[in-house]
Symmetry: C2
Subunit: 348 residues, 2 copies
């Protein structure tokens, strides 16, 4: 069997560490893994899958001989180093937003648009976490019934804002009585002008605002969904909200389908056939997805499937997934696996 | 000035206590207040506004001589005692769901449909907390531009599930590391078959389910909105979710208006003129409503006002209010105040 040299840029971050875990767990055919990070972390030893890995400083020449490089160290690092990597012939799978809307760069969720990988210039983008879980759940609906409109309100976990945001939630959560006066420095984002406590709160801002009053997170959901579905005629709009949840994004999604006369049961059955999706939907037993129980799970969970009482083509669903796994690390590794499948198919 | 005898049924509950506070704070012209509760609480002394009040057991004859009775002790108590009270000539303002959809019973938010009070049989219903804040914010939109469709996803606080739910959130919040195993007995509701931890979670169930897969809370929002707006042609649908927030419900609301060509600025200006509403909406300064800062406030806060990029008559807004005040106690007292205004108007 052919084996590959793999690099992870941003190996000290939460997503980088989970990419390494998934490569080992899913038996990706690597012969070696280079863990790359800033010079500050160089020399640090990391244990994963019973083996030890030493962090090296990420440099342009780090990619010599690397077949696949996973980038998850922020948009600026990707902008600086990804083209250096591709120059060495490395295929870059980038988890930042740097290249996602670049027309030359495929934006891929393997269950949804694997064919987008057929042509690329060495650079493949992994979509935003909140987009991935939504398109995985909605793709079978689009294929079976057509999608006219998507409206989503998110309930997003703090782990999407980094490890320090998790620590801040933990600390504030112990200070119940002073909850409105708790000090805050991490949310809506560490770099924001103003910070608000997240414990016992809901912050309707993820990333920065544009002139229309939308946040970048909301535009990611709007634009990435249209690109992944390769259909700019689907109407998409979004409201993104950060919650005191550690890991696991939830989404209240409303869709208008094209086909007439579809029942909630037919809608549900279409979703249940989708790869990577588990329907958890039984009101009689209070069965529905919740973020607390999606942590560390690979699948996308869907429940609360219902028909709009006032619109014959309107449906609700509630979509939950681990934002660090299917929303980031797992999807990135699945992209690499899909590339190998495509190569095998070409070679046969 | 004429003065009145007032009773509060369920005076030991969170909403009952706040009704007493609001009667005192707003100088409701009472000459005496009877605090009524179950026999278990009879004799308990409560302090409010520098005065002492002794709880009495609620009985059919408790209402002799009572002008206004506020009921907030659960639907079963209202069903048993409200008609007894009206038989004594008492006007009942009921905060439970027992009579809200009764065609004979006005369902009133004074800023929205005060005229509904013109005819009643002694019984007036206070709407559900999540409905009140939404209709207060949307009423000026309905009046200025017409409303075709409302889609709401809620972010609701645990105080709506009672004092024990607040204590459970506090206790679980201190147990960060065991979050998925924390014991739970209060949510989605104390009487539910299965319970889930609320800390670090989002539970997409408030109240029990019907055959269509909707919860009672969702139907309350759908049906009460149409009744208060006195317009069954407005399409309404809802998804209701409980969050680890103490007090303060938030709502991500999407509306389609009837009028063409309205800008987000015009939409916002219409809302800002509404009584009881404060627009907090400035992306440049990260100004938007948050539940943590709405606790103990009377007003309904609105922000994140935006136009749907893909629908010329679609708008988003984010509505936050204290669910125990405008959502319950304050609105109940405002109903009584409105009844007095109407009497004054008739007498002049």
């Amino acid at each position: 069997m052919q084996t590959y040299t793999v690099a992870i840029v941003g190996a000290t971050g939460a997503v980088g560490a989970k990419i390494l875990d998934k490569l080992i767990e899913r038996k990706f055919p690597f012969r070696s893994v280079k863990l790359l990070a800033s010079s500050r972390s160089a020399g640090t030893v990391i244990q994963a899958g019973g083996r030890l890995f030493t962090i090296e400083e990420a440099k342009p020449e780090s990619f010599d001989g690397v077949d696949f490089a996973f980038f998850s160290a922020g948009g600026a690092i990707s902008e600086n180093l990804a083209s250096e990597a591709t120059r060495w012939g490395t295929v870059v799978i980038d988890n930042t937003s740097a290249f996602r809307m670049d027309a030359e760069v495929p934006l891929v969720v393997p269950e949804v648009n694997p064919k987008a990988l057929d042509s690329h210039n060495g650079l493949i983008a992994n979509p935003n976490c909140s987009t991935i879980q939504m398109v995985v759940a909605l793709n079978p609906i689009k294929e079976a019934f057509g999608l006219k409109k998507i409206l989503v309100s998110t309930y997003q976990a703090v782990s999407g804002a980094g490890a320090d945001a998790i620590l801040e939630l933990k600390s504030q959560s112990g200070q119940f009585d002073s909850r409105a006066e708790n000090s805050a420095s991490q949310l809506p984002s560490a770099g924001a002008e103003r910070h608000y406590p997240i414990a016992f709160n809901a912050i309707p801002q993820i990333d920065s605002f544009d002139d229309m009053g939308y946040t970048k997170e909301e535009w990611k959901m709007i634009n990435e969904t249209k690109k992944i579905f390769n259909d700019s005629t689907i109407a998409v709009s979004a409201t993104c909200v950060r919650l005191p949840v550690v890991t696991g994004h939830s989404e209240s999604v409303y869709v208008e389908i094209e086909k007439e006369g579809i029942t909630a049961e037919e809608f549900s059955r279409a979703i249940s056939k989708a790869p990577g999706v588990i329907v958890q939907d039984n009101p009689a037993t209070q069965t529905y997805p919740m973020p607390l129980f999606a942590e560390n799970k690979d699948d996308v969970y869907v429940g609360r499937i219902r028909k709009d009482p006032d619109h014959p083509r309107g449906f609700h669903l509630w979509i939950v997934a681990d934002n660090l796994l299917k929303g980031a690390a797992l999807n990135s590794v699945q992209i690499a696996e899909q590339l190998l499948k495509n190569r095998d198919a070409q070679n046969n």
